[in-house]
Every structure is written in C-alpha cells, then in structure tokens.
C-alpha cells in the first residue's frame, strides 16, 4: 500500500457507521483485515442509504409490474410505456439530511442527483416536482430553511432548463430538526433507446465523464444513514456543492452520445460516488473491474484513494463503452467542454481492483460486497389504532365562511405561490397545467399526449394509522391525476421515516408499505422506483412518518384536460360520499386545536370507480373544471376553484344529518367537485356507476355564499395568498 494507514480499531469501525457484526462479516468476506480505503468502501456500500438494509425485506412486497411497466425498481429510475414508441422514466429521491445542514446546496444537489438518475437511462428530463416538509413556522430555523431550499431547487432547475411544475409543502413541528426535501424528475425516452447499468464485455473501457473529482461530500451516504445530534452542524463538509451549468452540459452531451451506438452501460455517480457506481455496474453485469485512480480528473492535488473513492462531487457519470468508440465519445464531450477520461476496464476476475501510483489500494470481491450486504428483519410494533371522532362532538362557533377564511391562511392550506414563482415552470414550452392545481400536465413534444404528475402524502394520517395513511397517499395521487383527466399509470415512493431500530418507527414503515401495497394492487398502479430515507430523527425525536408518493399518468389528448378554474354559470356537482370525517383533519388541528382520532378511511374499490367516472366526464367534455377534495375538505376545495377562476359561487347546504362544519371541512376521501354546464349528464353518469353525486351550487359573481353567509373572493384571496409572503418577509 502506498501510505501507512492507522490500524482499524473498533472506534474507526464505529466512525464508519458499521456495527461489530458487520465488521465481522467484512473479515469473513476478505479473509483478512481491510485497509482504511477498503473499510471506507464497505461503509458506504453497506450504509442504510445505499444498501436499504432495514427496508429491503418490506420493499420486496410492493407490486411492481403491469403490462405497461418496462423497468421496475432496481435501476436508476422506473420506466413505463406511454405509447407511440415512447417511454416515461421517473423517480423521486430524498436529500433530507444535507438540506438541513446546508439548505441551498443540499436542495440543489438533490435536484441534480434525481435529474441524473433519469437522463442516465436515456431520457430527456421534461419536468421536476418536489415534496417539501419543514418544521413549525414558529421555529427560529424554519424561515432560513424554506428560503434556502426553495432558492436551491430553483437555482438548479431553472439553470438546467427543466421546468419545475409542481409539488407540495407542509409545516409541522416534528420536522423542526429534520426537514424533508424530496425531488422528482420525469423524463421521456424512446422505448428502443433505454440505457441500463449492467456492465458487459471483458476489456471494455470504463470511462469517466463530467466534472472533476474533489473532496466534497465524502461520507454523505453515511451521514444520511444516522440520526442528527448536537454536532450535526460540523457535518457541513459532507454536503456536496452543485453546478447546474455543468449538469446542463452533461445532459446534452450524454443525450448526444446516446444517439450514437457507443454505450454499453451507464450509471451516474450519486451517493458514494465512484465506489457505488463502479460496484453496481460490475455487480449487475457479473464482471470485475480495474480502475486506475491516476486517470480520474481531479479538482485538487494530493487526494488519496480513500478520498477519490468516497467523494460525492456532483455532475459525474461512469460509462462502459464499446471498444473502439472512445474517439467518437471523446469528441462529443470535448464539444461540451467536459472532462472525459478512460479510467479502467472490465475484467473477468469478479473483483474490484483499485490502483493508484502503481500500488493496489483496494482489492475487493464484488458479489459478496454488493449482493451480500446486510438485510435486517428489524423488530416492529403495530401502531395502535385510534377511535373515530364523532363530528357532533367537535363544537363549532362562528360563521362557516369566516372559518374558511381562517383556514385558507393556515400554513398547510395557504397558497404556495411564493415558492413556485421562484421555479421556472414554463421552460421547454410544454407546460399545459401549471403549479397550483391538482396534477401538473406536461405535453409530450410532437404528440397530442401529455403526462400528468403529482406528489402527495398526508403525514398526520400516517402517524395515526400508517396503513390507512399509506393507502391515502397513493389514492390522493391517483385522484389528482384523474382530476385533470389522465389515466394513472405508476408511482415512485419516497419513504421518509425515523430511526428503524426503534420498533415503533419500524412499525410505521411496515404499516405504510402495507397501505401502499393495498392501494397499488387495487388501483393497478405499480411502484416502479423509489427511495428510502431513515434516521430522520434528532435527539430521539422522529418526524411524522412521510411516505411521499409521486404519481404519473397519461393523457391521450392534452387538449381535453381540465384545470380547477370553473366557468361562469356552471353547476357544481360533488362526487363521492360526505360523512363529515373530522379525525386528523386540518380543521381539527387548526380550529379545534386537536391532533387526534382515526384518519378518514379510504375505500379503494370506490376510489377506483370514482376516478374512472371522472376520467369519463373529462374525456367526454362534460365538465369544464374538476378538483379533488383533500386537506381542509369541501369548502377549501371550492374556494381554491373560485380563486383560480376569479368567479364566485352560491353553495347549497346539502349537509343532511351531518353537522354543517363537518360537512364543510371534513376530509372524507374519494371525493371530487366537478363544474358542468349540464349537471344532469354528470348526475346520470354517476348514477350509472352507483357513485353518490349531489348538485351543490352554481358559479357566478364575486362572492362565495352559503346559508346566508357571504365572503368576497378578494378577501379570501388576501388571506390565502398573504400568509407565506408575509411570513417570509419578516426578518
């Protein structure tokens, strides 16, 4: 070895996040003690972030196939067939830990990483989304984190020229010490031009392209696999620094190279950088690999093998090329002024051999390391169920519309315009439905087709009942996609939880997976990609369980899509049953000051037929607008539609036996509001499918009115639009 390294003591092992048992396994695999470089490789490859060691057992239970699925989980991203020879490639991924430590760069590099996962497979990214969770607005750090994360997402996405078309943002004190930044990218590729990561061809050159390697982000994956403590600020150097300009060049250069016939396999260098990418490629292809670190483009001098292998410098890719195609490839990367270096070749040894300055720095067997990584069946406890709250037991005082105005200015329901106006949501010229509605809709260039996309999760439901919460998260994406008129096709899941060694937390994870599984099966809506982020805890206090779901659907003809803005003189029909479920509702939390009760049940069979009805209504041109009913209930959804249209409505009280406030603000699932010039058609088609449908109002004017109460749209708008800018403006 080229350097004298200190001996591997138990404390060195612990610093690398490896348990005593895991270290014993390393000794067994190698038949000797690892050197420090090798230990570093094991530590990142076996980190929770890279190995999914706590979650694997449960992720395997998720449905991942359907006739339209081209590639499910296991590759860089999921791939589905969208017709006309095209595929949609998408995935959502977390960048939680880095974003808390350094919000701008943490969020920016989260966007960069997920973009690479998608264009690695041959897709041009056409849209970004994000799901954000911040701590209580009263927490001193929250404002700084919101400002930094939003600027970071915008700074990266705007520069690479991919529109950021939607997302979600919640606030809750449980995220005070661990914010969540989940970024999703959707791309389009030709079905016969999809690129995978399995290396093949003994002797084929292994090529490094993109940015140079520096010392940033070393042990990022290990950091993302541990709880925070008081010293977490010191982990700032583990956060990577992004360069969206280089990413833009890398996208163009890779897509240009992919149009040729040079690439055997390609993989982005994400978490655990060169180590992870070369291991995964070799392992998937059953190959060995030999790398010469002297050939790796370096940003700084004097870097050690350990640093080269564990750096998480951004905007880098690893490829295996066909022999003799190096010159063609090099010319393309020269044109885009990016580094291009042959750094090694494939072998038949089944080992990864790392050389530097002529010496062997690491020599590891690939299969045992990559495939025999730990898998735990962690003990878990079922989350105790909570009783259903009788709506009549929740008192209400004051006017319903005054309460509506109050609710519209609460952090979770307030307009997020302040956020999405910092994102270029129009670049590329294909954004049909912009942020602020249900699903975003992005046209597939040169076709009539469009992709609907959304991210959803209601963490307070998941805390109260993880199974129901998991179901609801999937169902809500389904609903949002149906609401614009598109057919939901598949999801990506981003599982954000606390410390899995705590059986209570592990029980939340297991429950959420069960709920997601049930919903995917019932809705024919498989999981094609995903990401797990555990250890979102600080000083023993965990986040709300947050299985964020990104859904994608297909619209055959984008000209038929509808948004949430209704027209003047429309009739309003409420689809689905309203029982006034107040447990875990925003109303209960914000107005009654309680966070308890069972969350609203999700009836998946009813969900499915209601979604099908909505799609039939949109496709038939029977409705001018549609909105699903979610957080805040019926009146919040109506207000959002009225504000989008700038047209009021006269709402009829159809509460029946349900207390009026529970009818207005209950969060019963599986419901939509549609606006139609001919309500009878809607009512008839709903009756045919046995779906409850009620005429609940008529649009027009500048007021919302209900049972003699009235409120000006302008006043509602001021409340709804005012909260976030006002909050961010105060120094």
């Amino acid at each position: 070895m080229s350097e004298i390294t200190p001996p591997i003591t138990p404390s060195v092992v612990a610093e690398h996040g490896l348990s005593t048992e895991e270290y014993a396994k390393i000794l067994e695999i190698l038949g000797r003690a690892p050197n420090r470089t090798e230990l570093g490789v094991f530590s990142v490859m076996w980190s929770e972030h890279c190995s999914y060691k706590s979650s694997k057992k449960w992720l395997k239970t998720l449905p991942t196939s359907a006739p339209w699925v081209i590639c499910g989980p296991g590759e860089n991203a999921g791939v589905i067939d969208i017709g006309e020879g095209l595929a949609c490639i998408f995935k959502m991924e977390s960048h939680n830990h880095p974003s808390f430590i350094e919000p701008y760069q943490g969020a920016a590099t989260g966007v960069g990483g997920i973009l690479r996962d998608v264009f690695t497979m041959g897709a041009r990214p056409i849209a970004n989304m994000n799901a954000l969770r911040f701590g209580s607005p009263d927490n001193a750090k929250t404002k700084h984190l919101v400002a930094g994360v939003v600027a970071g997402i915008g700074g990266y996405g705007n520069c690479v020229g991919v529109p950021t078309v939607g997302g979600e943002c919640n606030f809750h004190a449980s995220y005070d010490g661990n914010i969540l930044v989940n970024a999703m990218t959707v791309g389009i590729a030709a079905t016969d031009k999809i690129f995978y990561s399995a290396a093949a061809g003994i002797g084929n050159p292994v090529v490094y392209v993109g940015s140079k390697t520096g010392r940033d982000g070393i042990h990022g994956a290990t950091m993302a696999s541990a709880e925070f403590n008081a010293d977490s600020e010191e982990k700032r150097p583990t956060v990577q620094v992004g360069d969206p300009f280089t990413e833009k060049l890398l996208i163009e250069a890779c897509l240009e190279l992919m149009a040729t016939d040079c690439i055997v396999a390609i993989q982005d260098m994400g978490a655990a950088g060169l180590t992870s990418s070369s291991f995964e490629m070799a392992s998937k292809g059953g190959m060995g690999v030999e790398l010469d670190l002297d050939q790796v483009p370096a940003r700084e001098s004097g870097m050690t093998a350990y640093e080269f292998l564990l750096s998480e410098s951004q905007e880098r890719m690893l490829m295996v090329l066909k022999p003799g195609s190096e010159d063609v490839a090099r010319a393309i990367f020269d044109k885009w002024e990016l580094d291009f270096a042959v750094i090694g070749h494939l072998t038949d040894s089944g080992r990864m051999v790392i050389k530097m300055k002529g010496a062997v720095e690491a020599d590891l067997p690939i299969d045992p390391l990559a495939l025999a990584s730990p898998e735990y069946d962690r003990p878990w406890e079922k989350t105790p169920t909570q009783g259903t709250i009788d709506p009549a037991s929740v008192p209400h005082s004051g006017g319903i519309l005054a309460t509506l105005q109050t609710l519209l200015a609460t952090p979770d329901l307030a307009s997020k315009r302040w956020i999405w106006e910092q994102y270029d949501h129009l670049v590329m010229g294909d954004t049909v439905i912009r942020p602020g509605g249900d699903a975003a809709l992005v046209r597939v260039r040169d076709t009539k087709r469009a992709l609907a996309m959304t991210t959803d999760c209601t963490p307070r439901y998941c805390l109260a009942d993880p199974v129901m919460g998991g179901r609801q998260a999937v169902a809500e994406t389904w609903r949002n996609i149906c609401a614009v008129g598109a057919r939901p096709l598949a999801i990506t899941d981003n599982m954000n939880f606390g410390n899995p060694t705590n059986p209570r937390i592990m029980g939340q994870f297991v429950g959420a997976i069960e709920g997601i599984r049930e919903a995917c099966l019932a809705l024919d809506y498989p999981v094609v990609s995903g990401n797990v982020s555990l250890y979102n805890e600080t000083a023993g206090s965990a986040i709300l369980p947050t299985p964020a779901i990104g859904g994608v659907g297909l619209m055959d003809d984008y000209t038929k899509a509808v948004g949430v803005a209704w027209r003047d003189g429309d009739s309003l029909v409420l689809l689905g049953a309203t029982k006034g479920h107040l447990g875990q509702s925003i109303y209960l939390r914000e107005i009654a000051g309680r966070e308890d009760g069972a969350p609203p049940p999700v009836d998946l069979a009813l969900e499915r037929i209601t979604g099908e009805l909505v799609r039939e209504l949109v496709a038939g041109g029977h409705v001018s607008a549609c909105h699903d009913i979610s957080d805040g209930g019926l009146l919040v959804a109506l207000a959002e539609m009225a504000l989008a249209a700038n047209i009021g409505a006269d709402i009829m009280n159809k509460a029946g036996d349900v207390p009026l406030h529970a009818w207005a603000f209950g969060e019963d699932q599986g419901r939509y509001i549609v606006a139609a010039s001919r309500a009878n058609t809607v009512l008839e088609l709903a009756a045919k499918r046995g779906i409850p449908a009620n005429l609940i109002g008529r649009t027009g004017g500048i007021l919302l009115t209900l049972k003699g109460e009235r409120v000006l749209l302008d006043d509602l708008r001021e409340s709804h639009e005012g909260w976030l800018p006002d909050y961010m403006a105060v120094a």
Partner: protein, 233 residues
Amino acid sequence: MTAAIVTFPGSNRERDMVMALTRAFGKAPALVWHRDTELPKVDLIVIPGGFAYGDYLRAGAMAAQSPIMRAVADRAQQGVLVLGVCNGFQVLTEARLLPGALMRNAGLKFVCREVHLRVERADTPFTQGYRKGEIFKCPVAHHDGNYFADSETLARIEGEGQVAFRYCSPQGDLGAAFTPNGSINDIAGVYNDKGNVLGLMPHPEDATEKLLGGLGGAPLFAGLAEALAGAPA
C-alpha cells in the same frame, strides 16, 4: 424568410423559440453553435433564453465575448434583425448592441409569472403585429431582469422611441406593483438606435399557443413573418 438561433453552452429556451418560429415562419430556424464564427445568411438572428456559460461572472457577460457574437454584431450593423429574449437580452446589452444593463431583480429572487406588457410602438418589424398601446399577456422567468440605464441614456432611449415594451396592469396602468423586477420606467424591452435589434426580458415564445398560456406573444412572430415575407428565402 429565414432565421437562425445562436446557442451557447447553457442556453435552455432554444426549443421554445424553435417551436414559436417554426409555427410562424412555416419552417424550422437554423441552430448556430457558439464556437462557430460564421452565421448562415438569414433575415433574423435570435439569441434565446437560458444561462449561457452558467451566467457566471455576470448574466450574459461571457457569452458576449464568444466568437459568434462578433458575427452577430456585424450583421446587426448591416441592418439584419436581431432579437434577444431574456438571457439573450442580457447578452445583447453586455455586447453593447443594446443600451442599458440588467441587474438582479429588486425582490432578489427568481421570478416566473405572467405579466402584462404594453406595446410602445407598432411601427417596427418586431411589433407590427400589434397595435400601438396594445396590452398582452406573456410570462417572465428570470433572476436578473431589473433594467437600468443612467439618466442620460434613459433620456435618450425614451426620447428616441427606443422603449419597446413596458410592464403594466391588465388595463395598461404603469407602476411598481405590475413590474416584476424593479425595472426603471417599467421597461421590459428596448431597441437599438436603428430599431433593428430588440431585447426583452419576457418570453413571447412561451405565449404562442392557445392552451399553453395563450396567444399574447404570437403577434410578435406573425409580425416578423409578415415583415420578412418579401425577403429572399
């Protein structure tokens, strides 16, 4: 009539511009790479939006020094029409083909939203598709769109009719509330002294389809097509 779009590393709205020009001109524009030193013979040169060279140093500063910009300056001198949108506007001011400068938005944040623009004159090839005083809707998407010119320059461009568009209310009223970036005199776009070079921050190319943000920008391209209709193909 023919058009060319000049692209730099980091340009990212050239696709939008290709669609808008193709729709109006009936054929696709040529794409010219920044390292080229010669431009094809065309009637219209467009510098699109994006982040040329990452906008490092200063938005548009490095692109203004690239080889192709000398060729663009020569053509502009000869009277060929040049249109710079967003980053293209920044490049043209940095290249001194247009007066003034674009500073960081007054709100210090990137802003992507729909704005209303007032057409200040309708007698140029760029605006002959509009009426003078017409108001149209079109998006902005930028971080550095705060137009500034010193008082002497400002007096000159105002006096010589070099202001192309101003931000305004839907009714055409001017005021800080309607200007997304703090631009002086609500200026959204300016001409050079000969009127053959136009730069503007908003994106008319992203407002040329009824179902995707409306048709507010379409008359700009239709007007150009009409103005250049007599030009040899």
